[in-house]
C-alpha cells in the first residue's frame, strides 16, 4: 500500500458548556494513504466535520478541548503552536467546505482570493500569484479562467464557486485535502461533476482525500475506504467495496437500509427509529444501543471495542459473527439483506 500521509490516533474533541461537556469526537483513529479517498459518513452531529476542523486547528481554541495525535509529514498537527500550524494550513493540508456560497469573501475577486492563498505561503509577486490562480481555475474546469478570475463570487454559479474553492485548496499541492460535504449545497446535476473533479485532482496532485458526507451514495461513488461515525465514535471502518458488500455494524445496516436507490421504492426504505443521542449525555455502553433493534443486555453496559477483522475491516459491536448472520438471514428491517 502507498505511503501514509495522515495518521490520526485517539482524536478526542470535547466542548465544555454550561450544561456539561459535549463529547463531539471520542477516540477516533484512522490512517489516510496517498492517492486514496477516505469517506467519513454519519448523521449530523456525528462528529465528522468537527474531527476535521480539529485537525486544521480551525475550532475555537477557547471553547474546544482537543486531545490525541494527528501526524502529517512527521509533525503532530494537534500539538503544533498556532503560528506553526498557520504555515501548515493551506500548504500541507487544505480544506474545502460545504457551502461555497458562504465560503468565498463576497467583496474580493475570485482570482484575488486564490492568489492570496499563494502569497500566504510563498514570496512571489502579485502578478505571479494571479497567474497561478488563473492557471488553477483553468485546471478545475472554469472556462475563460483569465476573464472569470476577475469576477466576484456572486457572478459564479454554485458549482463554479466550489471549483474555485478546490482551486484555492490546490495552490500549494497539499498532501491531504479534506472535503467537508463538498456537494451538499449543490444541484444534483453539479454534484457528480464536483465529485469527479475531486477524484481527478486527487490523482493529478497525488493527494490523500478525506471526503466527509452524510450521503452514502457519494461514498459509494468515490471512496476507497469508509469510516462510519455515530455520536462521535467510529462504528465501522473498512475498504469501501467490502463495507458495502458485507457491512458488519447494525448502524451501517440502518444507514444502508434508509438509502434510496433507483431500484428501491420509497416504501421499501427503512428509517432508523429514534434520533441521535445528546452528546452531553451519551447513553452508557454502545451509544447506538437505544436505537438498535439487535441490542441485548450487554450493549447497554459496556462499550464494544473497535475490533479489526481480517481485511482491515473493523467494527464496533457486541454481536457475534453468528448473531450477525442470523440477523442478516432473518431479513428483518434494517439488515443488510434489505439494503442490497
Amino acid at each position: 500500500m502507498s505511503e501514509i500521509v495522515l495518521d490520526v490516533h485517539g482524536l478526542t474533541v470535547v466542548f465544555p458548556t454550561a450544561d456539561g461537556d459535549v463529547q463531539a469526537v471520542s477516540d477516533l483513529s484512522y490512517t489516510l494513504h496517498r492517492g486514496e479517498t477516505l469517506g467519513i459518513v454519519g448523521e449530523s452531529g456525528s462528529g465528522k466535520s468537527v474531527s476535521s476542523l480539529a485537525l486544521m486547528q480551525l475550532l475555537n481554541a477557547e471553547s474546544a478541548r482537543i486531545s490525541g495525535r494527528a501526524e502529517l509529514g512527521g509533525r503532530d498537527l494537534l500539538s503544533l503552536p498556532p503560528d506553526e500550524m498557520r504555515r501548515v494550513r493551506g500548504k500541507d493540508i487544505a480544506m474545502v467546505f460545504q457551502d461555497p456560497f458562504a465560503c468565498l469573501h463576497p467583496m474580493h475577486r475570485v482570482g484575488d482570493q486564490i492568489a492570496e492563498a499563494v502569497t500566504a505561503h510563498e514570496k512571489v509577486s502579485n502578478a505571479a500569484a494571479t497567474a497561478r490562480a488563473v492557471d488553477l481555475l483553468g485546471q478545475v474546469g472554469i472556462p475563460n479562467a483569465e476573464e472569470r478570475s476577475r469576477d466576484y463570487p456572486h457572478q459564479f454559479s454554485g458549482g463554479m464557486r466550489q471549483r474555485a474553492m478546490i482551486a484555492m485548496a490546490l495552490v500549494h499541492n497539499p498532501s491531504v485535502l479534506i472535503a467537508d460535504e463538498p456537494t451538499t449545497a449543490l444541484d444534483v446535476t453539479v454534484q457528480a461533476q464536483i465529485l469527479e473533479l475531486i477524484e481527478r485532482v486527487k490523482d493529478e496532485f497525488d493527494m490523500g482525500v478525506i471526503l466527509i458526507t452524510h450521503d452514502l451514495g457519494v461514498i459509494a461513488e468515490t471512496a476507497d475506504r469508509v469510516l462510519v461515525m455515530y455520536a462521535g465514535r467510529a462504528m465501522e471502518y473498512g475498504p469501501a467495496d467490502e463495507l458495502f458488500a458485507a457491512p458488519q455494524n447494525p448502524y451501517t445496516w440502518g444507514l444502508l437500509g434508509s438509502m434510496p436507490t433507483v431500484e428501491r421504492k420509497l416504501e421499501e426504505l427503512v428509517a432508523i427509529e429514534g434520533s441521535p443521542p445528546s452528546l452531553v449525555n451519551l447513553p452508557p455502553g454502545c451509544a447506538f444501543h437505544p436505537r438498535c433493534i439487535h441490542a441485548f443486555e450487554k450493549c447497554g453496559t459496556a462499550l464494544p471495542d473497535l475490533e479489526i477483522a481480517p481485511g482491515g475491516h473493523a467494527d464496533r459491536c457486541h454481536l457475534s459473527p453468528q448473531m450477525k448472520r442470523e440477523a442478516q438471514g432473518a431479513g428483518i428491517a434494517g439488515s443488510p439483506g434489505a439494503a442490497r
Binding site: 467546505f97 458562504a102 465560503c103
Partner: protein
Amino acid sequence: MVLYIVRRTLWAIVVVLIVLLLTYVVFYLLPAGDPALRFAGKSPTPESLELIRERLGLDQPWYQQYAKFVKNFFTGDEYGWPGLGYSYVNGVPVLEQVKERTPRTLLLIVGAATIWLIVGVSIGVLSAVKRRTVADRAAMGFVLFGISAPVFWLGLMALYIFWNKLGWTGGTGYVPISENPSGFFSHMILPWTVLAMLFAAIYARMTRNTLLETLGEDYIRTARAKGLSERQVITHHALRASLTPIVTMFGMDVALLVGGAIITESVFNIQGLGWLAITSTFNQDLPSVVGVVMLGAVAVVVMNLFVDIAYAFLDPRVRYA
C-alpha cells in the same frame, strides 16, 4: 449609474422641498408673536408695522410666501444664489449669515469625525480581537462612559480642567484658522474631543459587534484555512466586510451634525450653524431658520446619496441600474 445618480438627485430636490414646506407650516402654525414687531424697533406705529409687513411679505398667506421663497431659492435674489432672503431681526442677508457660520460648523465636524472614526474603529477592533480580556472590558467601560456622559457636562468639565486649571488649551470662542492657526487648534481641540466622545463610543461598540459577527462567517474560516495570519484575516477579510455599516452610519451622523451640533457649539461658544438655528428660532427669525434647515436638509440628502454610491464601490454585489 449615471441614470441612477440623476434619479436620486431629482428625488433629493423633492425631499428638500418637502422639508422646507414642513418648516413653513410649523412656523406659521406655532406663531408666538409678530415678526414685524421685532423688526420695527422700540415704538412702532401701526403704519410702520403695516409697511414692514408688506415689505417682508408677511401680509400674504404662508403658501404664497412659500412659493416666493422657492422661486427665489432656485433663481437667486439680490444677495446671490441660492436666494434665502434676509433676516427679520437684523436685516442681514441669510446667505451671508449662513456663509459666515458654515465653516465653523464644518471644521468642528471634520475634526470631530476624524477623531471618532480613528478612535472608535480602533477601539472596536481591539476589543473584538481581544474579546473577554482586560482590554476588551476597559474598552467597553469607555463606551459606557462615552454614551452616558452628557455632552454639556463633558464640555464644561473639559473646559474647567484643561483650560481653567491646567491652561493647556484655549478656552471658549472661535479663532479663524486663517488668522491664527495655532489659536484655532488650541480652541478647537476640546470641542472636537468632546463632540467625538459620544460618537467614538457608539462606533467602538458597533465596530466590535459587526466585527465579531463577521468573524463567525464561513469566509473567515476559509481565510484561516488558507493559512493567512490573524492580522490579514482581520484587516483584509473581517474589517473589509464590516466597512459597509460603518460608512452608512458615518454618512448619516455627519449630515445630522451640520444643523445639529447645537450643544457643543453652545458650550464652547463657537457660534456656528447650530447656534444660528437656536438664536433665530428664539427670535422668530423665519428666513434664518429656513436657511439653516435648508442647509441641514441638503446635507442629509447629499450624504445619503454619497453613502448609496459608496455602497456600490464597497460591495460588488450592489450595482445600480
